[in-house]
């Protein structure tokens, strides 16, 4: 059968069966200087481990560039290259295109090489969304774009991004005497947008490294399936969210268990809720109140009960009113929105 898409073979990365089956080799090691309790550094470590040694990583500007790759003390064992803040999509595409052309033309040894470009929420959900979107429309190139979302421009002093939750206190949205809520935008639904808007992208997933094995297997699936793929990881950030670093793991669990961060994957257009999210949707466990999540973080310390109720109502709507709960915010009828005064 003739096909218009000519795709090179990928590495066949089977899912890790259990934590104890994960290899010991590290491809993101010492040398970085991320904050204590940094979940994004954990994501980098797990991502590199999941991908293995025959991988090229492109990193756009952000925490995981500035903190990980000080000159002469790189933490990367695999080849790594900086890319510009809004360029994760282009970096992945360009690198994958070069490998494809050079191998086809006999200028480089044929071999499946993983190409991963990562970006933060600033680089991915704000500046780089156009380039990521474009890359996800190019079915010929094998590459993964991983968005590590710590919900602010955390490297530049915690400024709000399009991925910062409603109402959060950031250095660009500090509560004051006249205005308690400075950040009045709801978090952008990146994974849903990427899944819904890119018909030829074969794999989109949300992960949280509090559930590390599932996260790593998601990365392995994204690299194996072929074509451009996208993973959005929610990474609790002690500095930006203002909590004790030892709570990072718990914070990720709370984001999932309160329903604020739904875990799912869309594979060849088929949506599957995963992990705890699947259990919540199936009614096996109850969603925890968002209060349990919000009040553990200093960035929401200025919230009144009204603010918390409003936040809860938006999360409830996400699960009860959306046509595809937790994923796509289409509704059957218009609903009024009543943010607190």
């Amino acid at each position: 059968m003739a096909t218009y898409v000519q795709i090179d073979p990928t590495q066949k990365l089977e899912p890790f069966k259990a934590v104890k089956k994960i290899p010991l080799e590290e491809y993101f090691t010492s040398g970085h200087r991320t904050c204590q309790g940094c979940e994004s550094a954990l994501v980098m470590k797990m991502m590199a481990k999941a991908a293995g040694p025959r991988t090229i990583v492109l990193g756009s500007t952000g925490c995981m560039y500035v903190a990980n790759t000080t000159y002469y003390s790189t933490s990367w064992v695999v080849p790594w290259m900086h890319t510009q803040l809004g360029s994760s999509g282009s970096a992945a595409l360009g690198t994958a295109a070069a490998l494809k052309a050079l191998m086809r033309k006999g200028k480089m040894k044929k071999e499946p090489i993983n190409v991963i470009a990562f970006c933060g929420d600033g680089g991915g959900a704000d500046m780089g969304v156009g380039a990521i979107s474009a890359t996800l429309t190019h079915p010929d190139y094998n590459c993964l774009i991983l968005l590590y979302d710590n919900e602010s421009y955390a490297n530049t002093d915690i400024q709000l991004s399009g991925s910062t939750p409603w109402g959060a206190n950031t250095t660009f949205s500090t509560p004051g005497k006249m205005k308690r809520i400075m950040h009045r935008r709801w978090k952008k639904n990146m994974a849903g947008m990427m899944a819904a808007g890119h018909p030829e992208c074969r794999y989109v997933a949300t992960i949280c490294m509090s559930y590390g094995l599932a996260g790593m297997n998601s990365i392995r699936k994204a690299l194996t399936i072929g074509g451009p793929t996208f993973i959005h990881s929610l990474d609790p950030c002690p500095k930006g969210w203002d909590y004790d670093p030892y709570q990072s793991h718990e914070m990720g669990e709370l984001a999932v268990n309160t329903g604020v961060w739904p875990l799912y994957e869309v594979e060849d257009g088929v949506l599957k809720l995963t992990g705890r999210t699947q259990q919540i949707a199936a009614g096996k466990i109850k969603r925890q109140p968002v209060r349990d999540y919000l009040l553990k973080q200093g960035r929401f310390a200025h919230f009144t009960n009204d603010d918390i109720d409003y936040f809860q109502s938006k999360v409830d709507a996400m699960w009860e009113k959306w046509l595809v709960p937790g994923v796509i915010p289409f509704r059957r009828e218009v609903e009024e929105d009543h943010p607190p005064a």
Binding site: M81, A98, A131
Partner: protein, 410 residues
Amino acid sequence: MAQLATVLEDQRQTDETALITGSEAIAVACKLADVDVITAYPIRPYDTVMQYVSKLVSNGELDCEYIVAEGEHSQFEIVKHACAAGARVFCGSSGVGWMYAMEALTVTPALRVPMVAMVGNRALDDPGAFGVEHNDALTVRDLGWQLVWVDTAQEALDTALIAYRVSEDRRIFLPCAISCDGAFLTHSQALVQIPSQKKVNEFLPRYNRADLLLHPDNPITVAPQGNEDWVMEIRRQNYAAMERVSDVLREAYDHFERIFGRSYGNPFFEEFETDDADIVLMGMGTLSTPVKVAIRKMRKEGKKVGFVRMRWFRPFAAAELAECLSRFSAVGVVDRDYSFGSPYMSGVLATEVRSALYSAPGKKPPVVGFIAGLGGREVTVPDVERITEGVYNAAQGRPQPLTQWIGLRE
């Protein structure tokens, strides 16, 4: 029989002549250079080159990854990364498109990525104009790009091959932008000698990223945070690379002449009717057409006027140019660009020429700047005559403005 076979083979290897535009000439160069990754995005007038590339790809004449990007920033970032992963690349833009790619243009030389790009020179917005101005390409003049202005379709093709050879030389590893005046060159057809693939292969070695290749067999970390500890040393390496370009360029032009049998003389600037000239005009790109016509006319009237066309703007051959200009009693620099607030409010080229002369040992002729042909306005023969009059006045020591706008509606 063996002899006949050799003769036939030789015939296949000979050059062809074709009537093509400047844009098409560069597309042909991409094919001859066997470029691996090309990215396109539409903006007039450069985009004609990508229309030709598209045809070459669909007809199977050029085997490359041809990617239509969603904006110039991505367009240039994609090829930047492809080039870092070992691919020979081509890209291009015009006017504000080039500006939209500015961040990518900034990091490309800093990363020592030998990208070759075409700039179809176009006036920057606003107000909109499709016509030529040189301010677009000139915005990268301080960043480590090699910048060259070509005049004919033939020169465009030849310079593209030379650009790949010099940029990809491990001593250099810097990007090169080939400027083609919008419409006057991008869209104008001329007879072009298309060299045989055999000759091109002999001239242009395969791109070898060597120790900087981003590949699992060479697991390097590229462009980490250097900060005040190392950035200065790294900048100095770029400085040294740019310093080496002149010699590598000369080697390339010599070799080009030996293989292709076409000589450009001095690679850095072309001299026209300068042997006995009293005064000279200077400029870049297709300005040479009206200037050369006007000079032929004025010479018949007994005026000994010459023309120096700057070809390579970066690196700028300051010492050689100063030595050349010391032979004349005055110089008139015609800029198809502006630099508002610059010394004497002159255009960019005039300012550079004055700067080149200041520290030169020889005689320093007065330099008068002229701004002409902005937004694609035609520079006419009477315009050139008026410019020449001003330069003669300067030669005779008559006071006059150091910057004059020519062809302006008053």
